[in-house]
């Protein structure tokens, strides 16, 4: 127990977070990890199969994981299939993202009760759960960092997000299985997770061995690793783990050329392609619901039938709805063209102005879950290529 070492085989410096202490665990070790997290009061959330998709839900046991499943994804297409092996993480991201836990789709923000003198406001208690996320891929870690900037980076931090985020334990997954719609490499968001986690796993599966390389990213991660059975990683283990990431990087389903993209979109708000994509887009808002960085919300007010109490609820909202931009007398973005333009320009361009980075991590969810298969990478390509074509006289 208590085995730690850095890449240089030196003891960890006491004053900072450990950089790397790589170890090997097996399936039993993974179960021990889940148990150790539960024992420390964390509710573990991880990938599970529900309604023919891989979603994020509470789990206790390794046997709850989608063993032997993979997914096939393309524009407007998602299907689970059996793999030939017993891999536990052999698929890419599904319709869920982690944002639903830190930024719930629906949450009461406060209540009001009538009193003799008027009314009183009752604040919500802080959340009782402490989450541990299991299997967070590099693109999703990047999305988490992006939402941290959105919700916590301003002058008034979002209290509910801050409370949930503060307690979070992250077990990252070095991605071994990209999907047909992934393009994290283009977005510089993956496949390697290098920070923002407590522990990171690389799944390594061969005909007669199934093991995980564990990297340590924090003191809390170090403490948990010390509590579970593991052995030091060898140079061969490390090379094998690197090969997993190399293979993932070489199998991206999509690419997106991001050169000058901020200007490309902001400078062409009247490009005919916006008109063209609007003929296909149903404004169903699926893309914004599945996107791990989309953060827009609305508020609803409800009054009890007696009129004695009222409550405010905050809900996920989407720039694809007409109501989103409503001002007395009519909405600003009446046409789907303007709404699609708002969404894509925000993701890939104005996000830089607002938060200093892209709002897209290349997870591919918006492509897979669009009922008509609209592809953000294809839309960018269409605008870019039309501008580089010579104009005809």
């Amino acid at each position: 127990m208590g085995y730690h070492r850095t890449r240089e085989d030196r003891p960890l410096p006491e004053c900072h977070a450990p950089t790397a202490g790589e170890a090997i665990i097996d399936r039993e070790g993974l179960q021990a990890l889940l148990d150790a997290l539960s024992a420390r009061g964390f509710s573990v959330i991880g990938p599970r199969v529900r309604e023919e998709a891989i979603v994020y839900a509470p789990l206790r046991n390794v046997s709850d994981l989608p063993e032997g499943w993979t997914d096939r994804q393309d524009g407007g297409h998602y299907r689970l299939e059996r793999r030939g092996d017993r891999a536990l993480f052999g698929y890419a991201v599904g319709p869920h993202s982690w944002k639903q836990f830190l930024f719930p789709p629906r949450q009461r923000i406060w209540r009001a009760e009538r009193t003799e003198a008027g009314f009183d406001l009752l604040e919500e208690p802080p959340p009782s759960e402490r989450w541990a996320f299991l299997g967070v891929r590099a693109c999703e870690l990047r999305a988490l960092a992006i939402q941290d900037r959105v919700f916590l980076g301003g002058s008034l931090p979002d209290r509910s997000y801050a409370e949930r985020r503060r307690e979070l334990f992250v077990v990252a997954l070095q991605c071994g299985e990209p999907s047909g719609t992934c393009f994290c490499v283009s977005m510089g968001a993956g496949p390697k997770a290098s920070s923002g986690f407590d522990l990171a796993l690389t799944e390594m599966i061969a005909p007669n061995s199934h093991r995980f390389l564990v990297e340590v990213g924090s003191r809390a991660g170090e403490e948990i690793l010390a509590a579970i059975p593991h052995r030091p990683a060898s140079e061969a283990d490390r090379r094998e783990a690197e090969a997993v990431l190399d293979s993932t990087a070489s199998r991206m389903g999509r690419t997106l050329d991001t050169r000058g993209i901020r200007e490309l979109l902001q400078d062409h708000p009247e490009h005919p392609r916006w008109e063209e994509v609007a003929t296909r887009c149903l404004a169903c808002a699926n893309c914004t619901m599945v996107c791990p960085t989309c953060f827009c919300s609305t508020v609803e007010d409800h009054t009890a039938l007696t009129g004695e109490s009222a409550e405010r609820t905050r809900l996920w909202d989407s720039c694809f709805t007409v109501d989103f931009s409503y001002l007395h007398g009519g909405s600003v973005r009446k046409e789907i063209r303007s709404r699609y333009r708002q969404w894509m320009t925000h993701k890939l361009s104005t996000w830089f102005d607002q938060f200093g980075s892209s709002g897209c991590v290349g997870c591919g969810r918006c492509i897979t879950w669009c009922p008509v298969g609209i592809d953000i990478t294809e839309e960018v390509r269409a605008i870019r290529s039309s501008l580089s074509e010579p104009t005809h006289a």
């Binding site: 604040e123 919300s297 007010d301 007395h328 600003v332 303007s338 708002q342 104005t350």
Partner: protein, 275 residues
Amino acid sequence: MRSPDPFVPSLFRVDRVWRESADTVTLGLLPIQGEIPAFRSGQFFMLYAFGIGEIPVSVSGLWGQGPLLHTVRAVGPVSQALCRLRPGDTLGVRGPYGSPWPLPQAEGGDLLLIAGGLGLAPLRSALLPALAERERYGRIALLYGARSPADLLFGEERGDWSSRGDLQVEVTVDHASPAWRGSVGVVPARISHTRFAPERAHAFVCGPEVMMRYSAAALLGAGVPPARIFLSLERNMKCAFAVCGRCQFGPTFVCRDGPVFSYDRIARLLSIREL
């Protein structure tokens, strides 16, 4: 007591209500506990009516001079509920939010305040401090347009403003009544009737977006530099602190980067349809 949760309002009580016109009232609000938070002219608060909802409303008065003043026009459920409030009633208030009118920057030159309809309310919060420190400015002019004489706001006070020798007041209406002896037409047209030195002037404009576009064009035509023209924009707002995404206007959040923007910053954005 301010809650650490930025979504939670503080409770205020209605101290006074002034009826401005058939559909518009000014509310004077006092906190049930604590003080009125410091705010500046041009900023806004989120006002919550019990069980109905919460909307952005600009300040129409000054900080440190009695109750928090908001002038509200009843157009829909929330604004109607606010307009129905009586002295003693409770409401939720959070803020202030957004950028102020850049009064310090305008000192030393002429100041044009151009208001359309309810836009006079936020501009009142710029006019009062300018009049209080009158010597800091060159000429000051208020150009104000409303739909009809019955819609004109701040009646009595406007009378005082008109009778001042050091303030030019131009009032115009779209539709005159038989008794109306003032001018008829749109506000931007009054710019050419206003005495000011464009190269030293600042203009603050607030009103319907079309009216602001025309005013900005007329000001540019008169020689006011775009960086000295300021518009106060409206967008749908649910949070007012840049987390709900609703008020986006190109790369800006109107709740945080606005509502008061210099024209040079937003001229291009304003030219894009349905942005």
